[in-house]
Point group: C2
Chain length 308, copies 2
């Protein structure tokens, strides 16, 4: 199935205890599409960049068969740029700067051949922009949506309207607690799903993720890694891997959703092993599959009665 991902394509300035990068390729749409491309060849990116965006970065995406007809180039503005510095334990970071530039007036108009996309990924953006993309998609089987504390606090009405329309919300645990105004994650999940999304995925960084769908909860750990270079983009890569897996399924049933969660977790694990999106550049399906096998060992409760 075709997959559309709207979000940012950005310059990232990244500092971790293990190194730094300046003006690295970044942005949610970058990670979403690079992570989603393993199960379908039909990936449609929607984003905007400025006159300073190098052809070399365009090639990173184009050479990986991501459709860039929806990437808008603005001649008179600069590319969105973000800078962050991670603490020693990599679980916390400080934002050094956020230069919106082209993003402040982003109002995407989809190429006509994008509008039939079946899986729609709304990366973290102004909920009104996310809604406008959704309005232009007429054949979506599944709409996934990310958001962040800024929109929860500053545009609650627009976010609420959007939540009533999407199938699957993908947020992290602190965002879930803030969105639901509830410290218990399980209660928070119930409250959030009552506002719209039938599927809720709560990302917990090094602690993995929880998926709430129908009456069940499914838990995946993060794949254990000794060498994490840079957590930037892990959440977007997770969502991209999840959505990308589903784009390769004929039927989005409960088992497929669980498999997709494992797939997203594994793709995210490759992302954090290198800086920026570099871990996704040459990643292969064979490498993903091998890691999924060890993922099963990590979580499978052996057969046999646990106790009598």
């Amino acid at each position: 199935m075709s997959l559309l991902a709207v979000g940012t394509v950005a310059f990232d300035h990244i500092e971790t205890p293990f190194g730094e990068r300046d003006r690295a390729l970044g942005g949610s749409a970058t990670y979403l599409t690079l992570a989603a491309r393993f199960m379908t060849d039909d990936i449609n990116l929607v984003a905007v960049v400025g006159n300073d965006f190098p052809e070399e970065y365009v090639d990173v995406l184009r050479s990986r068969h991501i459709n860039l007809d929806g990437l808008e180039f603005r001649d008179d503005e600069k590319t969105f740029a973000w800078g962050g510095r991670y603490h020693y334990d990599l679980n916390n970071r400080d934002t050094l700067f956020t230069d919106l530039n082209v993003l402040s007036s982003f109002n995407p108009v989809l190429p006509s051949h994008y509008t039939g996309s079946r899986i729609v990924c709304l990366g973290n953006l102004d909920p009104k922009v996310q809604a406008s993309v959704m309005d232009q998609c007429h054949s979506a089987d599944l709409v996934l949506c990310d958001t962040m504390n800024f929109w929860i606090e500053n545009t609650p009405d627009a976010l609420d309207a959007l939540l009533g329309r999407v199938d699957c919300l993908v947020i992290n645990d602190s965002e879930a607690r803030e969105l639901a105004e509830e410290p218990n994650l399980i209660v928070a999940a119930r409250k959030i799903r009552a506002r719209g999304p039938r599927i809720l995925i709560i990302k917990k960084g090094e602690h993995g993720a929880l998926m709430f769908a129908k009456d069940s909860i499914f838990s995946v750990p993060a794949y254990p890694l000794e060498d994490i270079q840079d957590p930037t983009g892990a959440g977007d890569a997770f969502m991209g891997g999840f959505a990308g897996y589903l784009s390769g399924c004929r039927d989005i049933n409960p088992d497929a959703l669980k498999h997709a969660l494992v797939y997203g977790s594994v793709v995210a694990s490759f992302t954090v092993e290198k800086f920026g999106p570099e871990g996704l550049y040459d990643l292969t399906r064979a490498e993903i599959l091998a890691r999924i096998d060890s993922f099963r060992d990590l979580t499978t409760i052996p057969l046999g009665q646990v106790a009598t």
Copy 2:
């Protein structure tokens, strides 16, 4: 198999957003034994209390078939007492007071019929006291040990000597990071196991636990609960449930260790649903088994290829 648990029997003052208790029954040996008793009838408690310890609390343990021959009563001193206040999200707490009382001179001498115990649980205590109990046990198949930041910081040599002798260390994630002086948990685990324990269990509260044994890592989530009243003792109940499960096994093999981790997680989940150890008082094996079944649903990756 017989199980010995040494630790504290205490008065706990507990404040959570959902209520408070004063001079409640508490202490690591209380939780360890109450949680361990479901798979064996041969549970030996070692602890000390003062002249203020009520018969009613002794009966809580005795009526549940916990052997109290190793519970020392001091006529001239008071029982160890601890007070804590949990924050709104239950993940953090402030210690209000710690009155060591009888604990400051605790030097347990095991009843002779305790010394053949096969599973030995060393609850969080001065590592020298833990070592002295270990010295008195001559038939242990498995020695499990807990510790805390106080001993990591103040008695590193005694702790290091103990680590070289125990089979299984059970600590929480912040303790693991501090003990190994390493922020990455997977690296920390490798460093800690190089100092002695062939099995390491890292407790992560609401995020579950990780077990490192041989060359494998096994991850369990916390059982999802909408109503958590009081997290006090959850870690001890987890360790007690884990050790208690193994006391019911003929062979402590890798599958048994994984089953024991699930069992410990489930027993801990019942503990936090009520104040203090009350959730363990009337708990039955049938209730534990039913929750283990839903635990499998929570973590089982469906059969079939995740991807090709």
